[in-house]
């Protein structure tokens, strides 16, 4: 795999204000993304996992500025894309695309499939009309739909087919980075693997880079090269897929991994059941955000916020207790 860094995220933050009363006074912030830094390498698939509401999707959308982040940098080809103005950003979007979660909501019901797939080409003025028409057919074939689809409307397709249309639209411009925001969680299991394999094939063929957001650990394991784990708006661990699935350092990752179902009725799992609920992101705990539910927590975890530290082999974890945890294993 190439080691060139395609996209570098530095200290990205997005807070949503909580307003109250007649004059919309801001009484607090939901820290959806709270200072995240990570690199996405050229040609890799970076899985991003975490439970509902931990800020995965907000992170993905902030990177491509569908949501304007509060602060931080997103550097691509040496340029901070957060500093681009409207027109420059519009051009930049050619390289950054997104595949959405819900294929029933992500296609305009009033546009034909042909128009939907052609639109990105039109917006970025790629080729003449007949060239675009050919390209649309090519794209549809590439995602396994036939050309009769052009004149039809999205509601005439099944969930899996719609997701393929969404993929064709996202890939029409040959983007460099594709944010996949839970692209298969709305599909049934039988279609899921087809779509995943299609995405993998296309990635190989077109040399794409994926940021794959999901809460489904088995899906992420199947498709990712590296995996990042988020908890309450922060990264807690990031490492190669095999490392993180086999020897997780962070106690939260450990608990997550123990929750993956194993298709063997005889197998007795020793699941780690976390106590309590996820704290509110509007009012996160002090120190390490995870200490309220952590099995290993001690005084230091309540006070100091742990940084992401490289424990060798590019395995980063943000935990004060990594050494103890590793020893106990």
């Amino acid at each position: 795999m190439e080691e060139r860094v395609l996209l570098e995220v530095k200290g990205l933050k997005k807070y949503f204000p909580i307003t109250k009363g007649l004059f919309k006074k801001t009484v607090g912030y939901v820290k959806a993304v709270d200072g995240i830094s990570l690199n996405i390498k050229c040609g890799e698939t970076l899985g991003l996992v975490g439970e509902s509401g931990c800020g995965k999707s907000t992170l993905g959308r902030s990177i491509i500025r569908l949501i304007e982040p509060l602060e931080g940098q997103v550097i691509m080809d040496g340029v901070d894309i957060l500093s681009l103005n409207k027109d420059e950003m519009r051009k930049q979007r050619e390289k950054l695309q997104i595949i959405f979660q819900d294929p029933f909501a992500s296609l305009n019901p009033r546009m034909t499939v042909g128009d939907i797939v052609e639109e990105p080409l039109k917006v970025h003025k790629k080729g003449a009309q007949n060239e675009r028409n050919e390209k649309v057919i090519e794209l549809l074939k590439m995602v396994g739909l036939n050309e009769q689809a052009i004149g039809r409307y999205p509601h005439q397709f099944s969930g899996g087919q719609r997701q393929r249309i969404g993929i064709a639209r996202a890939l029409a411009l040959n983007p460099e980075l594709v944010i996949c925001d839970e692209p298969v969680s709305a599909l049934d299991v039988s279609v899921r693997s087809q779509v995943l394999n299609l995405m993998n094939d296309l990635k190989e063929k077109m040399g794409l880079t994926f940021l794959f957001i999901s809460h489904d650990l088995s899906v992420v394991k199947h498709i990712s090269d590296r995996v990042a784990v988020m908890y309450l708006g922060r990264l807690v661990e990031i490492a190669d897929k095999n490392e993180i699935y086999n020897i997780p350092f962070h106690p939260y990752t450990e608990a997550l991994m123990s929750a993956i179902p194993i298709p063997d009725p005889e197998y007795k799992k020793d699941r780690i059941i976390l106590k309590g609920d996820v704290p509110s992101p509007a009012n996160p705990p002090s120190g390490c955000y995870f200490h309220t539910r952590c099995l290993y927590a001690s005084k230091i975890c309540e006070k100091n916020q742990p940084e992401l530290v490289n424990y060798g082999n590019n395995h980063y974890a943000a935990c004060h207790k990594v050494d103890r945890i590793r020893k106990e294993r």
Binding site: I98, A105, S106, N108, I150, R152
Partner: protein, 297 residues
């Protein structure tokens, strides 16, 4: 070459025209809407061409004693000044239909852009536009219209313009509400992700997906405007006699004796109002269904 031809076929046969063909198909299948359309078209044809072909005369007074009943020459009798009721019915139709359609057109043309801008951009713009709409709505519109008419002077055109201007907040509010929900949809986000311009997002994504209720509201508004013109005519601020409108015919016939014994003076204009309003509503219903590609043909 073969491939090219094939592609062209796919595009020409099933792309642009097919949307309108589908719309037409769905509309034709909506029986009430078709009946409404036929009747309304007939009405429009009648009120435009009948006066010329039959040489109708709605203005000469004293053709018979006031409120005399139907005779051979005057099929609907005469009104309080002895004018031919049938001619007045036809001429009144011109006025009522014009007032209804044009003033609604004005309301829609003002209301939709303002509502979309308010809903799409939100925040301050939204607050300003919607507060202005609130101000318009909070005044009893008939009084405001009366004041305006008395300033500008009563005539058919001033009434069309004034009723039109007073009607926009309804449309602005309705479409704003829809835009608020549509702009959060993922397909709008996907358009932004591709880099589609705001103006195009509004025209291709927001408008088609939020306009359906407007069509129905507009048909009701046509009916409302026709009635509003009638009320104004009654108060002496509407279409001035001798010019006829269905409204001033109705209100001209408003006395107990006329109502109970001279039905030919008020049933025809009343019936015409009911028929017109029903037709417009049916057409609106049909259009709403026809414009939605999700409806089965």
């Amino acid at each position: 070459m073969m491939v090219n031809n094939k592609n062209d076929n796919i595009y020409s046969s099933s792309k642009k025209q097919s949307y309108f063909r589908d719309v037409a198909k769905r509309f034709v299948n909506h029986k009430l809407a078709i009946i409404g359309l036929i009747i309304l078209t007939l009405l429009i044809l009648i009120v435009t061409f009948l006066p010329m072909t039959m040489k109708l005369d709605p203005y000469t007074i004293g053709r018979e004693l006031p409120y005399s009943g139907p005779t051979k020459g005057l099929v609907l009798g005469v009104d309080n000044a002895g004018r031919d009721n049938f001619s007045r019915l036809i001429y009144g139709g011109r006025v009522s239909l014009l007032v209804g359609l044009l003033s609604t057109g004005i309301s829609v043309l003002i209301g939709i852009p303002l509502g979309i801008v308010a809903g799409y951009y939100g925040k301050t713009i939204d607050a300003i536009i919607m507060r202005i709409a609130d101000i318009f709505i909070s005044f009893p519109s008939i009084i405001l219209i009366l004041v305006l008419v008395s300033i500008i002077g009563p005539s058919m055109w001033s009434i069309i313009v004034i009723i039109g201007i007073m009607g926009w907040p309804e449309f602005a509010r309705l479409i704003r509400g829809n835009v608020l929900s549509v702009r959060e949809k993922e397909y709008v986000e996907s358009a932004k992700a591709i880099g589609v311009k705001d103006s195009e997002i509004i025209l291709k994504y927001i408008l088609p997906n939020s306009v359906a209720p407007i069509i129905v509201a507009a048909t009701f508004r046509v009916a409302g405007a026709i009635l509003q013109e009638s009320s104004l005519s009654f108060l002496g601020m509407g279409v001035q006699p001798p010019q006829a409108s269905w409204g001033n015919m109705l209100y001209g016939a408003q006395s107990l004796t006329v109502l109970t014994t001279k039905q030919w003076a008020w049933i025809p204009p009343g019936l015409m109002l009911v028929i017109t309003i029903c037709c417009v509503n049916f057409i609106g219903d049909g259009l709403r269904d026809a414009l939605d590609p999700r409806m089965k043909i």
